[in-house]
């Protein structure tokens, strides 16, 4: 690795100041992306800003209206170690428990997964399905961004050079709602998604009609996709196999994948359809729990 400076600000203010020095920076959350990228020369910066000493980034809390705000640097292991989150937001647990292996989950976090902005990142389709927003901070203050509007290309996002992600906000979920995240990898762990899908279904109180749906697909385009049309096509429909199949077709049509060592174009388009279908069925099952 090239020589690098290391800073560990203990407040947002200190972090913002560190961003003003004119040096190129990267953030160090769990380090599971950035340390490897710096070592392999895929990225080069003057300074690493360790964000794990900033209180706002390493804590999480439920909001009064039932939403969840997660500091950008809270490791996944802490999230899935919380029984209430496991119970109330199982879709979050779907993705948090399958990033890397246990060692990775001890350190990796939502802020890092989002900050790295990989097209195949596993937490992003889940969070988009849940309707998450990001709170981003800079010396100028805080602003909120819808997650699906955050990414601009592989490894690229709308974050300005003075900004960092402070927290991820998951809005309260409707009463008869269910969400599910599904990933396909050749092994059963320790693999990067060939395709991943997050799906949320909001049903009416009888569970007979879909009132809202959100579908997001990863690893099939330069950024994670929010396929609004696939969700919209379900609104007003009964949750049937036929309706799900139509939504899955729309999701598959939106996919513009590449062929690489992880999968082929044809395989990925095919899997988009299969996984969307499966995720919708699982989301439906969850909407009926409790």
């Amino acid at each position: 690795m090239k020589e690098i400076d290391y800073l560990a600000p203990s407040s947002l203010g200190e972090a913002y100041a560190a961003l003003q020095t004119g040096k190129t920076s990267a953030f160090l959350a769990g380090g599971t992306d950035i340390i490897v990228q710096l070592r392999e020369g895929r990225k080069q910066v003057d300074q690493l800003i360790d964000v794990k000493h900033i209180p706002e980034l390493v804590s999480y809390k439920w909001t009064d209206d039932g939403g969840l705000e997660i500091g950008a640097a809270v490791p996944f292991a802490e999230i899935y170690g919380d029984a209430e989150i496991v119970h109330r937001l199982p879709c979050l647990i779907d993705c948090a428990t399958l990033v890397g292996g246990i060692q990775i989950q001890s350190r990796a976090c939502f802020g890092g997964n989002i900050g790295n902005s990989g097209p195949a990142a596993d937490t992003i389709p889940a969070l988009i399905a849940l309707g998450a927003t990001l709170t981003v901070g800079s010396a100028d203050g805080l602003r909120d961004i819808r997650l699906e509007e955050f990414f601009t290309g592989p490894g690229q996002n709308v974050l300005g050079s003075g900004e960092l992600i402070v927290k991820v906000n998951i809005p309260p979920q409707p009463a008869n709602s269910g969400s599910f995240f599904h990933r396909f990898i050749p092994r059963n762990e320790m693999d990067i998604a060939v395709v991943n899908v997050g799906a949320r279904l909001d049903l009416d109180s009888n569970g007979e009609r879909i009132e809202g749906a959100r579908i997001s697909v990863g690893a099939v385009a330069p950024t994670p996709l929010y396929v609004a049309a696939a969700g919209d096509a379900l609104v007003g429909e009964a949750p049937t196999d036929e309706a799900f199949a139509r939504a899955a077709d729309i999701a598959a049509d939106a996919a513009t994948p590449i062929t690489d060592m992880r999968g082929s174009i044809a395989q990925r388009v095919h899997l988009t359809r299969v996984l969307t279908n499966r995720a919708l069925n699982e989301a439906l099952a969850r909407s009926r729990e409790d």
């Binding site: 690795m1 090239k2 020589e3 690098i4 400076d5 290391y6 560990a8 160090l28 769990g30 380090g31 599971t32 340390i35 490897v36 710096l38 070592r39 392999e40 690493l48 360790d50 794990k52 490791p75 292991a77 890397g100 292996g101 246990i102 060692q103 990775i104 001890s106 350190r107 059963n188 762990e189 320790m190």
Partner: protein, 161 residues
């Protein structure tokens, strides 16, 4: 230009230790090169194999994906800190009895990861063990005897608890 080295203090295997390191050095590099603790192994240097597992502040991590400077004020347990004097940890004993190692290069990582599991869940079943250990690669054993060793150690720990 001399490289900047930072002074770091950490609790390593129950002892307070000091060392100097550059920000670019991983915890793995520091353990092996600066502190002479070569029991923690490097298999990939990019988080893919678990050979470099250590327990840091109660959680198992890949030390190749942690910077040495991040160990400031931390509590770190390496394979060298698992046995108590001559008394092997039940996991170490069971790995020996069950022939859960062949070449042995993955073994420190597996024992550390398994210890982190048993520390938090004293009686995991086979599926849980397989899931927990998926971040640790072993190319020699096919995992069968490793999983059995962990199952046996969890039985022993239960008995002794």
């Amino acid at each position: 230009m001399p490289t900047r080295r930072t002074h770091i203090q950490t609790n390593l295997n129950g002892e307070e230790v000091d060392f100097l390191c550059e920000p670019r050095q991983s915890l793995l590099e520091v353990l092996r090169e600066e502190l002479g603790l070569t029991g923690t192994k490097e298999g990939c240097n990019n988080g893919n194999c678990g050979a470099c597992s250590v327990i840091m502040n109660g959680r198992v991590v890949n030390s190749c994906c942690v910077l040495g400077v991040e160990a400031e004020g931390a509590e770190v347990t390496t394979i060298e800190g698992v046995a108590e004097g001559e008394a092997l940890h039940p996991l170490q004993q069971c790995f020996l009895e069950e022939a859960a190692l062949q070449c042995g290069v993955c073994t420190p990582g597996f024992i550390i990861a398994s210890k982190a599991l048993l520390d938090s869940e004293p009686s995991p079943d086979e599926g849980r063990i397989r899931h927990w250990l998926a971040g640790n690669l072993c190319r020699c054993t096919g995992y069968d005897k490793i999983v059995r060793a962990v199952l046996k150690a969890s039985d022993m720990e239960e008995v002794s608890a």
